[in-house]
Symmetry: C2
Subunit: 199 residues, 2 copies
């Protein structure tokens, strides 16, 4: 005999399957939704359903979008000769938030990771090379994550790109703006010194 | 021009309306759901819809349930002469998890809080008094939260219950099991000493 209503325990279970949400948070979210107007709960349900039905991958850059090609690839205002390679769609969002980057993207959907069994063929690397061969690209910014897997992926791509005589760059390492020098880890600090610039 | 797909930004917005979920967590959850099979996303959507359609309040104890009276109130195996008063349905869940309590419940749906403008008439107090007058109740456990509002509510209820000659109790204050004495706050420690028992 369960003492909690089935629809309640089922929603707690479903929330618990999301990353970073344990049973306690899942209960809290469920009981929160029991107190709000039904419209809010139904709007969330609707948004989830639409996500499964309306999201597609852009045939050029493999970013998620509601159309293909996506609004970035289709825009005449973007600089199509600069291509920024990232691991995930979330990285595109982060770069777009800067409002600084005017080029286009290519989403790999992961990074090379022998530990997790992810090799180059599991990523959108062939598609990237096709674009570089057929489009007029002047610069490829390898903006994979600044960690082991991201570095390895950038190095791998750099070797593939070199023969095509396309400029390959990587974002600068350094101190985070607004941060505190004393809290920077030694690797970041060393890289920041290494990349120091004339004032 | 938005650069993120509309169904994606809409789900991020909806997730952000939940308590304790900021825009970053909302993005993380959304992009997680983009990577899992559609079934998982749809199961969550379905569970949300069912919550709005299938959850009712028990006409006796005002706990949430999928039927009324709820499975606890309807059970002949529970001790209907012991009534535990709690603030929220979540508290019922917590007490049920102990597997120790065999009585029934009464959910107030809040606590008296002059600061938030919540008075006795906003809670299920009249309904509690009705039950105490018409059912055969021997003991009322006032298990409101061990904070200012919960204490005030328990004291208010105690005064109402006294004339009915029903035993009113309150759970013990003391050190949490598995805790560390040195980390206990002074109020809890003082209450634990005050309530000390003969070995």
């Amino acid at each position: 005999m369960t003492t909690v209503a089935k629809p309640v325990s089922r929603l707690i279970d479903e929330f618990s399957r999301l990353p970073g949400i344990g049973p306690k948070t899942a209960s809290r979210l469920t009981f929160f939704l029991l107190r709000v107007p039904d419209e809010q709960t139904l709007a969330l349900a609707e948004a989830l359903r639409d996500l499964t039905e309306q999201v597609v991958y852009c045939e050029r850059c493999y970013n998620i979008s509601d159309r293909s090609p996506c609004s970035i690839c289709a825009s005449p205002e973007r600089d199509h000769s600069t291509l920024c390679v990232v691991e995930e769609p979330l990285d595109v969002m982060a770069l777009e938030r800067t409002h600084e980057y005017k080029g286009v993207y290519h989403v790999l959907h992961g990074a090379i990771s022998p530990v997790e069994g992810i090799g180059p063929t599991d990523l959108r690397i062939d598609e990237l090379m096709d674009r570089l061969r057929h489009d007029t690209v002047n610069e490829v910014i390898l903006a994979t994550n600044p960690n082991l897997e991201g570095e390895a992926t950038a190095m791998y791509l750099e070797r593939l790109i070199k023969p095509l005589e396309v400029r390959a760059t990587r974002p600068a390492y350094g101190l985070p703006v607004g941060g505190d020098l004393e809290y920077a880890d030694e690797v970041t600090l060393a890289r920041a010194l290494e990349g120091r610039r004339e004032l």
